[in-house]
């Protein structure tokens, strides 16, 4: 039977090899036997003071109390007293307690050996404790040394693991933040911020020792000692009451490193954003400046040529403007991916739709538009250029894939957790298996061997923009049964609740 070492730690041996209890018992028996032999031989050879030989029987007790299991010290006391009676007190080889003189001798020996064993035990415990304390202090110092100059969480983690494993000679592992969920004990320890396993309140029979890493109020993770081959945790080296000190040190080093990392990442992100912003605005400038020249030149030509040439010029103009839309998509997508978040402002859905239809006017032929905005539809709170880009891509697709005389419906509604905007055309629609892939970057609609012009960025950027406001966009089953229907959902956070107008709302 093994006592849970942390509930009832046995006094600590100073030096103790890895011997089994039965081996130690045999050893104490041998020591008592040796003492008996020596005293017997001395007495037979006419030792002048046989009484003095009783002191020899104190030796095995002393040795047992110093070196062996403490329960054996008491066994050795009993053994010594009995052997003393058998070997040194007449009548020899009999256990006779009728002689008062013999009884007195035995009692004295018993008291002396008991006191010796008790005092030795005490001494041993004190020595053990101070040894353990020294180990811990040395360990703390060592850990401190090892953690100096470690600036990342991973470095601190690795250094602490190595150092603690070496100090306790038990393999140690640190879980920072993502404690494995498939190990319920680890996650429980992390959640409760309590130590577990190896005699702790939580799961005392688990052989591992799990210590929470707590910094301030937060549990950062857990420290797990996993003894090999089911060996007990070597509490003699590190008394459990002192281990939390080590854990706290690891925790504070971890949180310091995490803070430094976060800070550095923030600085890097800010740098990156500044750089990307500058680069993108120069990119956008470089792309658009020639476009100004092209558009301007074509427009200047438009008024000076005959009607046939005017058609050609108009085509060139339309293409130049399309190129411009691609450039805008490309620039905006890079901006979004760089994490640049432009300013939000109140925006009315009608303003947005109207602006987009104005931009797309050259592309609009005989298509009809039906726009319904539910009464009470809130103002949106987002960046107008970005939201315009969403509508622009959706409506451009509806124009491109819908029939030339079809109707495009734009329907804006308020729902329980936000707003929904549907853009619905009367084209061939999107088959259900393709409704998700169309949103992937560079996806291109292919119909037989016919490819419809586009960069494959339009819907991807729509999704990115909507997602940056916590919303969703998906291709849904068209409510009217025909064509494609794109549904944009925006959460309440992307809208502005209006103070109601007190005058003449119609």
């Amino acid at each position: 039977m093994r006592l849970p070492p942390f509930l009832d730690p046995p006094p600590l041996p100073v030096l103790r090899g890895q011997r089994a209890l039965w081996q130690e018992a045999l050893l104490s028996l041998v020591m008592v036997f040796a003492a008996a032999c020596v005293s017997y031989v001395l007495m037979q050879s006419g030792f002048p003071s046989p009484e003095a030989l009783s002191i020899l029987f104190v030796l095995p007790v002393l040795a047992a109390a110093i070196f062996l299991d403490l329960r054996l010290a008491l066994v050795t006391v009993a053994l010594s007293v009995i052997t003393y009676n058998l070997v040194l007190l007449p009548p020899f080889w009999t256990f006779d307690l009728t002689n008062p003189q013999a009884v007195a001798k035995i009692v004295v020996l018993l008291i002396v050996t008991l006191v010796v064993s008790a005092l030795t035990t005490r001494l041993r415990r004190i020595t053990g404790e101070s040894q353990a304390r020294e180990n811990v202090l040395g360990g703390l110092y060592q850990l401190n040394q090892d953690l100096v100059g470690k600036t990342t969480v991973a470095q601190v983690q690795a250094a602490s693991e190595t150092c603690l494993s070496a100090l306790t000679s038990v393999p140690c592992q640190i879980w920072y933040k993502d404690v494995p969920v498939d190990d319920p004990l680890l996650s429980e320890a992390a959640q409760e911020g309590a130590s577990a396993g190896a005699g702790q309140v939580l799961a005392p029979h688990d052989p591992r020792l799990i210590l929470p890493l707590i910094d301030g109020e937060k549990t950062l993770g857990v420290l797990v000692f996993t003894p090999q081959d089911h060996a007990p945790f070597p509490v003699e080296l590190f008394p459990p009451s002192l281990l939390p000190t080590l854990a706290a040190q690891v925790a504070s080093a971890l949180s310091r490193a995490a803070l430094a990392e976060a800070h550095e990442q923030q600085a890097r992100q800010a740098d990156r954003e500044r750089f990307m912003s500058a680069m993108l605005s120069s990119l956008s400038h470089d792309f658009k400046t020639p476009l100004v020249g092209i558009v301007g030149a074509l427009e200047a030509l438009e008024g000076r040529v005959d009607s046939e040439a005017r058609d050609i010029v108009a085509d060139g103009l339309a293409e130049a403007l399309r190129l411009n839309r691609y450039v805008v998509n490309l620039v905006e997508i890079s901006r979004l991916e760089a994490g640049v978040r432009p300013r939000s402002e109140p925006l009315h859905i009608r303003d947005a739709v109207s602006g987009v239809l104005r931009t797309l006017r050259p592309l609009i032929g005989r298509q009809k538009f039906r726009i319904t905005v539910e009464a009470g539809f809130p103002l949106l709170n987002l960046n107008a250029s970005l939201f315009d880009l969403v509508l622009l891509n959706l409506i451009e697709n509806a124009l491109k894939y819908g029939p030339p005389e079809g109707e495009i419906t734009i329907d804006a509604r308020v729902i329980s957790d936000g707003v929904e905007i549907d853009v619905d055309d009367e084209g061939a629609g999107i088959p259900p298996p393709l409704r998700e892939p169309v949103f992937t970057k560079f996806y291109r609609a292919v119909e037989g061997d016919r490819k419809i012009a586009g960069t494959g960025l339009g819907l991807y950027i729509c999704r990115e923009i909507v997602a940056s406001y916590g919303g969703r966009i998906e291709a849904i089953d068209p409510p009217d049964g025909t064509g494609a229907c794109m549904r944009v959902w925006l959460p309440e956070a992307a809208t502005l609740r209006l103070a109601t107008l007190e005058e003449e709302m119609e």
């Binding site: 020249g293 239809l357 107008l501 003449e504």
Partner: protein
């Protein structure tokens, strides 16, 4: 002869764009004074005293917004910003400094000419009290308080009419949210432009009988609104 033609100072560093602007403006009977850098532009603005300035924000020497500040310190001449910087922050900054209008590259000739004409109108012709304003298919009779789109009469509430009236009397010009709020609702509410957006939306709903064709009111995010003058007037 050129003294009768409005003089436009074009501050633009890109030679191609400068050339195209010069040709276009000249063919529309403007006299063009080209400038390659911001400093040169400021110098010419002082010495030549043009009727209007076309200003690119991305200049090699100083930022275009600095040019606006410098000109505004002594003159009210109309300044039209021409830039690829389609970011609202830039636009708003240029407006706060006193720019009158804004075209984003790439822009069409018709659009640019319409903006320029609108900007010049106030400085050349002192407000003409027209009673009838026609903007494409939209017809507004200011005296009779009547509005129609392609001869379909539109019924507007008094506030909606007041708003449309302000936009129409400055047709083609960009009016800031603040200006519109002041004109229609008075000083007290000059800063709350949420009403404005709602009323504009109501106006749109009524005027845009065919949403694909009738986008009369143009939203300039972050700045304000304009009533678009008919495009393609060569």
């Amino acid at each position: 002869m050129s003294g009768l033609q409005p003089k436009v100072l074009v501050i633009e560093d890109d030679p191609q764009v400068r050339k195209f602007l010069t040709i276009t403006l000249t063919s529309h009977d403007y006299t063009v004074i080209p400038a390659e850098t911001g400093r040169e532009g400021i110098r010419l603005a002082t010495s030549v005293k043009p009727d209007a300035v076309l200003l690119d924000l991305g200049l090699p020497d100083i930022d275009g917004t600095e040019v606006i500040g410098s000109i505004r310190s002594w003159s009210k001449m109309p300044i039209l910003v021409v830039s690829v910087r389609d970011q609202e922050e830039e636009k708003v900054k240029a407006f706060d400094l006193g720019a009158n209008d804004y075209v984003t590259k790439p822009f069409g000739t018709a659009e640019l000419m319409a903006r320029l004409r609108a900007s010049l109108r106030d400085s050349i012709v002192a407000s003409v009290e027209d009673t009838r304003v026609e903007v494409g298919d939209l017809c507004i009779d200011l005296a009779a308080h009547k509005v129609s789109v392609r001869d379909t009469p539109i019924k507007l509430s008094p506030k909606e009419f007041a708003l449309l009236k302000v936009l129409a009397t400055h047709a083609g010009k960009l009016l800031t949210h603040k200006y519109l709020m002041q004109k229609v609702w008075g000083e007290a509410q000059a800063d709350d432009n949420q009403y404005l957006r709602i009323y504009i939306a109501q106006l749109r709903q009524k005027l845009e009988i065919d949403p694909a064709r009738d986008q009369f009111i143009v939203n300039e995010p972050g700045i304000g609104y304009r009533l678009e003058t008919p495009a393609r007037s060569h």
